[in-house]
């Protein structure tokens, strides 16, 4: 089914954004996030961007102090997901202009809208930046 969850975690291991595409209880989520974050944050630049954890494969990428972690199942192309993360970051960049952790923290809802436009039910929907941003601009106009 593709992407199972998307996490954004800062260097201290605090979760900044979490979006799951399968149902886990709060405790499970917390446990899972903890394990994954510990695993990924311990790795250095020379190591590859894929980690196997339980039955997920975690594809992660680091941007300054923020880690983007995407949990996928075995049926996904890892490199494609890696680039998808980059696309997500570029999209946010375009919207916020040089995006940083604080942008995501204080505009959490916008980050969620973007994700919503890009991924639905674990599948990639839209990869064109302008299309992704249309509804958000609409929202900005309305408010």
């Amino acid at each position: 089914m593709g992407i199972r969850f998307i996490l954004m975690v800062n260097k201290q291991g605090q979760t900044r954004l979490a979006q799951y595409f399968e149902y886990l209880t709060l405790e499970e989520r917390r446990a899972l996030e903890g394990e994954i974050v510990r695993k990924c944050l311990a790795r250095n630049d020379q190591q590859c961007s894929f980690v196997e954890h339980r039955n997920y494969k975690i594809v992660y990428r680091r941007y300054a102090s923020l880690f983007f972690l995407v949990g996928v199942d075995n049926e996904e192309n890892e490199l494609a997901i890696l680039e998808f993360i980059h696309l997500l970051v570029e999209t946010m960049d375009r919207h916020f202009g040089n995006v940083c952790e604080l942008d995501i923290m204080f505009h959490l809802e916008k980050a969620h809208f973007m994700l919503e436009e890009m991924v639905m039910n674990g599948c990639i929907v839209e990869t064109s930046k302008s299309n992704i941003l249309t509804p958000i601009q609409l929202l900005d106009k309305a408010s």
Binding site: M1, G2, T15, L17, A18, Q19, F21, Y23, L26, R29, R30, R43, Q46, Q47, C48, S49, F50, V51, E52, H53, R54, N55, E75, N77, E78, L79, A80, L82, E83, F84, H86, L87, L108, E109, H112, F113, E116, M120, N121, C123, I124, V125, E126, T127, S128, K129, S130, N131, T134, P135, L138, L139, A142, S143
Partner: protein, 969 residues
Amino acid sequence: MLYIYMLGYDVDFGHMEAVSLISAPKYPEKQVGYIVTSCLLNENHDFLRLAINAVRNDIIGRNETFQCLALTLVGNIGGRDFAESLALDVQKLLISSSCRPLVRKKAALCLLRLFRKNPDVVNVDGWSDRMAQLLDERDLGVLTSSMSLLVALVSNDHDSYWSCLPKCVKILERLARNQDVPQEYTYYGIPSPWLQVKTMRALQYFPTIEDPNTRRSLFEVLQRILMGTDVVKNVNKNNASHAVLFEALALVMHLDAEKEMMSQCVALLGKFIAVREPNIRYLGLENMSRMLMVTDVLDIIKRHQAQIITSLKDPDISIRRRALDLLYGMCDVSNAKDIVEELLQYLSTADFAMREELALKAAILAEKFAPDLSWYVDVILQLIDKAGDFVSDDIWFRVVQFVTNNEDLQPYAAVKAREYLDKPAIHETVVKVSAYILGEYSHLLARRPGCSPKEIFSIIHEKLPTVSTSTIAILLSTYAKILMHTQPPDLELQNQIWAIFSKYEGCIDVEIQQRAVEYFALSRKGAALSDILAEMPKFPERQSALIKKAEDTEADAAEQSAIKLRAQQQTSNALVVTDQRPANGTPPVTQLSLVKMPSMSNVDHNPAEQGVSQANGTLSVVDPQPSRPSDDNIGDLLVPLAIEGPPGSATLSGHSPVFGFGGAPNAEDALAIAPVEEQINTVQPIGNIAERFHALCLKDSGVLYEDPYIQIGIKAEWRVHQGRLVLFLGNKNTAPLVSVQALILPPSHLKMELSLVPETIPPRAQVQCPLEVVNLRPSRDVAVLDFSYKFGTNVVNVKLRLPAILNKFFQPITVSAEEFFPQWRSLSGPPLKLQEVVRGVRSMSLVEMANLFNSFRLMVCPGLDPNTNNLIASTTFYSESTRAMLCLVRIETDPADRTQLRMTVASGDPTLTFELKEFIKEQLISIPTASRAPSPVSLQAQPAEPPQPLPTSSPAALSDPGAMLAGLL
């Protein structure tokens, strides 16, 4: 609020607010409502029902952005209710031409969600044309999401979607060759890599491509991708292009292309695993091991062996894992030695997370591809020595098994074990293996220097103070064995050993204490000792527990605890093996006259109880006293009785738990089937036996029987006309179960061989007994397991039907209309084709019936019969006499009266046709419900056999046990 939730707090106070925001008229409010709802609630949440109407209004409304929002919500959390009320609307949206692509791409994914969750609610028959139409779409957003939908549909049923295949290839051509893509969809100069990847993924779900034109153009594209991808400076571009490349590789593998293209792929992969970029290296390794599975490119891959071994030493654990997997996969006889040695060497430096897996894999490879057995023993001993903590018990049990089963190996293993004991610091597992091997075989090297019994004893004894209790138990057995092998007896040694035994007689650990006492008593008996402590018999050859374990380990890591549990069970299982000595050893001394009784009485039970075989679920408690008569007189007295018993009554009263009937022909041993008093049952089975049996008819593993003392599980594998069942006998108590007997009463059409069942099941232990089944000819008769054990003073005896029934020898196949009709016509009239009107069918819908057929491995082929009230099913039956035989079934139902139907069965063999017809009939009218509670004394006649309302079948059913008995006598 989202933020709070993300931090891990419960926010159910806000759910209501969120849901009510959905119906707000303003866009921002609606937007927030939708997003929050879809993040916070899951599909089974009650509040969602409240929202369903608002969502529906949005979907059918005119405002496109609202439509989008609603679709997204449904796509993310839509459950059954949504599927039922919204599926049609969503489908309409998806194909309507008036909507903007924006809406349609969402609709596609929304449908995907609904379809995945509830395939039965969402009707996708006849969607292939629409899918094909969708794939003509120009807008890439719609294409991307349609492709996801296609992947799901195709993976479910690839046959219907052939028409989409050329379209996919076209899309790929458009993207990869013509680069005909709007600017905003190109990503670092690559036309939408995600869509390319998805398209190739979809293509992999089709088995092959037959149309030569499509195939050619696809290969052209693939070739271009394979050749045209270069390493570039820009990381993102590099990644994206390699993502496409790897997907192309996977597709090439799947298509099983020409040799040339394959070797090109391997060359590429070889290049990848040598690059510095870790991601590429990782994927290179992974794809290489995937490639191993599909094609025979092993030779080419072997050239990269050195490189792979280097990767094993990579600093990154992900890469090391992949390298290990690959090495494991590529190992064969020719390179096993190198690889295993490499693994061993690596073992000492590997980090802890990997050692266990590493040790296990090395052990399996060594076992699988060992060029000679002494090498195997060497490797395993080294392995244990190097990574003792990580070597599971299974590994050393396996060595012991090997050594016991191969006589040539024994002296060698003993020498090796002796050498290991000389090392200053050795791991406890090594002590265990060495002690065991030396105990069994040290006498074989008594002549060598330093190997006299005394020296061996002293060197083993040195280790005693440092080891744990389980090892002490093994050491004690070893001492007893050494003592036994010392001929002529060495008094000094004897005294030493006796001193140890008496010291441990007061040990706090029961196991050790028992061993010490028993060995001490035994060794005083002198001559009897050597009988009892004779060499272990050969182990029955069975599938390596290691391989089984490896399969488990590959499963979800979250099941780790379950595996540990299993490992524990296997430990106890193996304890049984070692315990056999004391268990078998004791009786001969104390009650020699009784020793052979159990086995002989088994034989006698056999004919008499054949009649009972249908009476499954009979559970009788046998009073232990009369059933174990201590002298032959009783037996003699009973013989006339037994003969006088009219043979026919055995048939008719086959369900009776009184075993005394039945003309036991070899009368002198009839004592064991002495009539016994029927007692009020004290041991009640847990759960309904008949129901458990029915469940097992449909699946291959589960619990067959359970009572407060024991649980019998079963696991089966079926291949054509052969089957292999494993019975798991688990003692649930803290006391051992004794006098365990398991006897198979096979019907005449099955050849069954049960391996030895140990007489005692230790506390909390589980014993596995493999059972081989060969199907000789078609028959509905059921094999029965006659199982008895003694707990305290109760003898419990149960007869259980084994789920080795007709349908297990089916192999479902689908037939097309072109195949079906000629076959159907060629099999005309009885006895090859039989027709019958069945009444009293239990009520079920057509779908349920189709599911029932499918679960019995009768493949329902939809669309063959123009009348939708009819079912056509087909399967292949395997048996030794018929070989593979096609069976065709047609069921015509009457929509007005669900209780009757007309059934036509056809196959190339008259018996098969008849048996299959009866079998299906039984399944259709029988009602395996809980209402048939197992009566404590005995169930009358065949509990699961349906009350046969049809005159034709009842004589047949009644005559069955008789015929069976006659056949056996």
